[in-house]
Symmetry: C2
Amino acid sequence: MIRRLINKIETLQAPIVVGLDPMLSYVPEQIQKQAFEEYGETLEGAAEAIWQFNKKIVDAVYDLIPAVKPQIAMYEQFGIEGMKAFQKTVDYCKSKDLIVIGDVKRGDIGSTSEAYAVGHLGTVQVGSKSYTGFNEDFATVNPYLGSDGIKPFLKVCKECDKGIFVLVKTSNPSSGEFQDQLINGTPLYELVGRKVAEWGEECMDGAYSNVGCVVGATYPEMGKVLRTLMPKTYILVPGYGAQGGKAEDLVHYFNADGLGAIVNSSRGIIAAYKQEQYQHFGSENFADASRQAVLDMKEDINSAIARR
Amino acid sequence: MIRRLINKIETLQAPIVVGLDPMLSYVPEQIQKQAFEEYGETLEGAAEAIWQFNKKIVDAVYDLIPAVKPQIAMYEQFGIEGMKAFQKTVDYCKSKDLIVIGDVKRGDIGSTSEAYAVGHLGTVQVGSKSYTGFNEDFATVNPYLGSDGIKPFLKVCKECDKGIFVLVKTSNPSSGEFQDQLINGTPLYELVGRKVAEWGEECMDGAYSNVGCVVGATYPEMGKVLRTLMPKTYILVPGYGAQGGKAEDLVHYFNADGLGAIVNSSRGIIAAYKQEQYQHFGSENFADASRQAVLDMKEDINSAIARR
């Protein structure tokens, strides 16, 4: 799967992913209104609003980007109806040939992680038949429980040609509270990073592994160290744009081959029309604003890589 | 909410929780058959089978126990249909006056954790109306992202009188890989435990906090230390029974007041009819076997506490 992602990144010259994290407050008035007229101010109405919002953004940007990253929490908050909107979004993106990174941050003890792995990436057995559940291409995974929680994902990655991104150093301000703690002089995130590289060895897919990691754009010095420690690991980089990460900071997340990282932007793209820079599009043309924001992000990152 | 849980534990003399983690392989043939006849060997059929299985177990044990702990992964693996079975299970257990601990192990950066907190414990705003999503009473939460990921849960706990159990030391064999790493001589799980106690201070509900923690039954020496470190923190203890934790090992998870811990058993209760000890019930009476297993577990734990 990582090979497929790399092919798309190279073809499109776009090491970027759009985070489909639709807060209801990002959805333009007219889309909310239409959804509420049809379904009322209900969970179903909210789910319809975020789904229509997603669909229009995907239609506007799918030819520019290799992948999307829907954040499942933004759907899960609306209960079952929200989960249906998540499923529709995954399916629609796949129909547009986008690679889908399910930002689910699951992780549990062995038998339970197996259920998550199967439900998000693999197939589940029902009597004599087998089915896919949410069927993303990649999932993000939390490492706190150690190898037991990761191995069921590795199994599914190998069997179904899927991938995972394991949290190593997250982009949020308090990520250091535990992740930066020193163990014999080595920070925990580095220890986790070394483990990720080790898990990745058994899931190679070309020059890179189907086991990637997450390192926030907001910690560029740590990204630089981790890049060297785990040369065959793809880094999914959240935190660009709205969270404060800058393109110059991100160049060290890439290997000398120009590969090795994919940078996510969520709010910065999907709510672009709310930013001063793109306000002239107007809320009725929010998807065009998103398209322009994707083009600008691509240019910003590619030129930073070219300058290094 | 912890006060409500404690009241129920004291009334029933049962510091135990039944884990509703229905693997399809636990569901007796006749229930599977009936569900598949109605819905085919489909995800809907699988969801119906686990829901009917749960319902019969809940009917057989609800008067003996204060709480249930559905493991969402076991439902999520069947996609949307599975999530509906999760929702039905939560609602049904609440209608039987059981406290529901959603074993969801969510956790993310701030804005995302907020969506999880709202979706599982709180209420979500849709236009001028507000709705509950999955509406559990407690949720389990992963601490790897630090305070940012926890605080939105604290907010919802305070606003809606709900609770959380934060993973401190998990029951699985590889939990030590990261959790046991020493930071200036102190293991990471202890550092997390101290943070949990600190978070808990702002969510007190009587003598205990609405912020509890998870410490596996399989690490009794660590449980003993953590008990002393966090006297006002309720400990949710997985790993009893099928995973190898014994009642004698668990007495140190309780405070001198006889409170402070609630022990979970999943497989040991819901698949009791498959064990030699309860085989005489027969698979048609699987729920009676579960009831007997609950009675035996209650006796086992209470007598160990009495003996100490």
